[in-house]
């Protein structure tokens, strides 16, 4: 008595089709699972039988052996409850096996026989489509995300009884053939989920607003240094509202990551660029991805295609911050385990914020800093190094004066700024078509140097900066990249001297001597 169905093991964000075989044979009644089941899969052993019985189906009083093939891949997650249950029902001839062959199954079961919302269903659906299957049978709560995959029949069922009914052709899902328009649901405009947040809320802070716009336009990482209460967090939160709208492909990537992390909450496509602001006590695994057994995406991946905000960046654990290097360079993070490496996309705009010194008031005109000089120096040193090397824009955010605070003049709204950002991005896309990069912030230094057209006086200004202000090689590259973005924002094909000067002004931290304007 043999049955076979398809399940999907999700490793990282990739689904892998798994054959779930069930054999009902001689021996004392028991359920054995072979084929490298992870703890989450083994855990499901205790759920499957009560679920089958609750659904009014019969659990065979025989020895049941389930095999997950190929056996060399460790299978994780609760999504195997449903394929194991259906494999057993197929092996005991309670559902027709023929119809099962075209579907991949995934879903966690409750003891009552309900299909519970399960993480990673979008990855399951993508794997099923890639394998050329007809469709997927998934919890009704996850049907919306599975429908994002085109050309796949999605059966969203709320109970095991419904799944059995579907296979026996006695039950049909209510929305088996949704409108085409629903399938091709466009990403909602950026800011839709952040309706309460707008750049117009920010008073004053002209330089910081400018920096946000440049960061958005070129995809540059940003560091803000300023005393408590200057509005660093408020500014950072508004960056996603001026980033360009996500393409469908980008939105799918975000949706898949959030699905795997179990953050989707039943919705379909995520249309809003993510904003993640982990607390500084976060572990390396929490930031970069990891966990026992099932490897979960970290904050860097949850921020993919969006903004990762590290407030009080100096307070973060050294190993966690050091680990940001790989995602900042490659746009992905690889978590290496004894069992193999797992890769997650992690391309985000980094916004870091810090106080200028431990007490927070160094350089404040109205309040004096109480820190011993060596403590303040130590504090600044925590900021330097590999992370700072990858931050193109660095600026001071002063506290607002009373006049700025009480002024009623509203700032420019996000929609207006975003239009300029979109235009600058369009110029970059056109220029960078055929390269693996989409915006200036992603460019390697050598490429940026070689392919940037600069006015002669702009080149001279850069050369002056190298000599006069000991601009480092990396600092040079960053200045070129920011200059490029400034030119793009202006619609200029050439980097002019004013672009270079403005770019140099955003080099505040670490090398104080570079702050002075180039003359």
């Amino acid at each position: 008595m043999y049955g076979r169905v398809y399940g999907v093991a999700v490793i990282g964000v990739e689904g892998h089709l798994i054959r779930v075989e069930a054999h009902v044979g001689r021996g004392l009644p028991a359920l054995a699972v072979a084929g490298l089941p992870g703890t989450g899969v083994l855990d499901g052993r205790e759920r499957v039988r009560p679920a089958v019985e609750s659904a009014g189906l019969e659990w065979p009083l025989r020895r049941v052996v389930v095999n997950l093939s190929p056996a060399n891949v460790r299978k994780e997650g609760p999504g195997f409850d449903l394929p194991i249950a259906m494999g057993v029902l197929a092996a005991s001839a309670q559902v027709p096996a023929a119809r099962l062959a075209g579907f991949a199954l995934a879903g966690e079961l409750s003891l009552k026989g309900e299909l519970v919302s399960t993480p990673g269903i979008l990855a399951v659906a993508m794997a099923a489509a890639r394998a050329g299957l007809e469709g997927v049978i998934v919890p009704a709560a996850n049907a919306a995300e599975a429908r994002l995959v085109e050309g796949l029949s999605v059966i969203g069922a709320a109970t095991l009884t419904e799944v059995a009914g579907f296979l026996r052709r006695t039950w049909r899902p209510p929305d088996e053939h949704p409108e085409q328009g629903e399938r091709r649901e466009a990403p909602s405009p950026p800011g839709a989920g952040l309706a309460s947040v707008d750049l117009a809320d920010v008073r004053g802070q002209g330089l910081a607003r400018r920096a946000l716009e440049i960061a958005a336009a070129g995809g540059h990482n940003l560091l803000m240094v300023g005393p408590p209460g200057a509005g660093k967090t408020m500014l950072a939160r508004r960056l996603p509202t001026i980033l360009p709208a996500m393409t469908r492909q980008e939105a799918l990537e975000v949706t898949r990551l959030h699905s795997v992390a179990g953050l989707l909450g039943g919705g379909g496509l995520v249309g809003v660029r993510p904003f993640r602001s982990p607390h500084h006590s976060i572990s390396q695994a929490g930031l970069l991805g990891g966990g026992t057994g099932f490897v979960r995406p970290g904050e860097v991946s949850l921020a993919h295609n969006g903004v990762l905000f590290l407030d009080e960046v100096t307070e973060f654990r050294r190993d966690a911050v050091e680990g940001l290097r790989q995602p900042l360079e490659d746009g992905r993070v690889i978590v290496v385990r004894a069992s193999g490496a797992v890769e997650f996309p992690a391309r985000f705009v980094l916004v870091a914020a810090s106080n200028p010194c431990p007490c927070g008031f160094e350089g404040d005109p109205r309040r004096s800093c109480r820190c011993p000089p060596h403590r303040a120096e130590q504090y600044r040193q925590r900021l330097s190094g590999p992370l700072l090397d990858r931050i193109d824009l660095q600026l001071s955010v002063p506290r607002l004066t009373r006049g700025e605070l009480t002024g009623t003049e509203p700032g420019e709204p996000s929609t207006v700024v975003r239009e300029r950002v979109e235009e600058a991005r369009a110029r970059q896309r056109a220029r960078l078509s055929g390269t693996p990069w989409a915006c200036n912030g992603q460019l390697p230094g050598t490429f940026a140097r070689r392919h940037t057209r600069s006015a002669p006086d702009a080149e001279a200004a850069l050369a002056d900066a190298v000599e006069g202000f000991s601009l480092s090689g990396r600092g040079f590259d960053r200045t070129v990249k920011v200059g490029l973005t400034l030119a793009d924002l202006e619609g200029s094909d050439r980097v002019e001297v004013r672009h270079v000067r403005e770019a140099l002004a955003f080099r505040a931290m670490g090398q104080q001597q570079e702050v002075a304007p180039v003359g």
Partner: protein, 122 residues
């Protein structure tokens, strides 16, 4: 049936299981065979095929404490293998191969017995 003694219940179970084996064409080889290791409930052999069946009979009055067969756990299975070996060594060669069954018998309030025989149980 509340006054049914444990030994009586055990015998009812064994009788019920034996009746099932006889119906299926087996013949009794030994019943309640004892040695210092313990006791084998039933030993039967098939008339045509050349193998012995060692059957452990578990009998309960209800399912309140689970199915009777659930009491045949790993330690008991190992003990039954040892017992079977002792049985085979004690007498003349009887068969080429052996099989272990568990007969799970439930007796209801009116004394009716229901038997499930799990062939080749371990």
């Amino acid at each position: 049936m509340g006054d049914l003694a444990r030994t009586d219940l055990g015998r009812i179970g064994e009788d019920t299981a034996l009746a099932r084996y006889l119906d299926l064409g087996y013949r009794l080889v030994a019943r309640n065979w004892r040695c210092r290791l313990g006791e084998l409930d039933l030993v039967v052999s098939h008339r045509e095929r050349n193998f012995l069946v060692f059957c452990e009979v578990k009998c309960r009055r209800g399912r309140a404490f689970g199915e009777p067969f659930e009491a045949v756990h790993h330690a008991k299975q190992r003990k039954l293998r040892d017992l079977a070996q002792a049985f085979l060594q004690a007498g003349p060669p009887l068969a080429d191969s052996v099989r272990f069954d568990v007969a799970s018998v439930t007796v209801d309030g009116s004394g009716r017995a229901r038997v499930d025989v799990f062939e080749d149980a371990f």
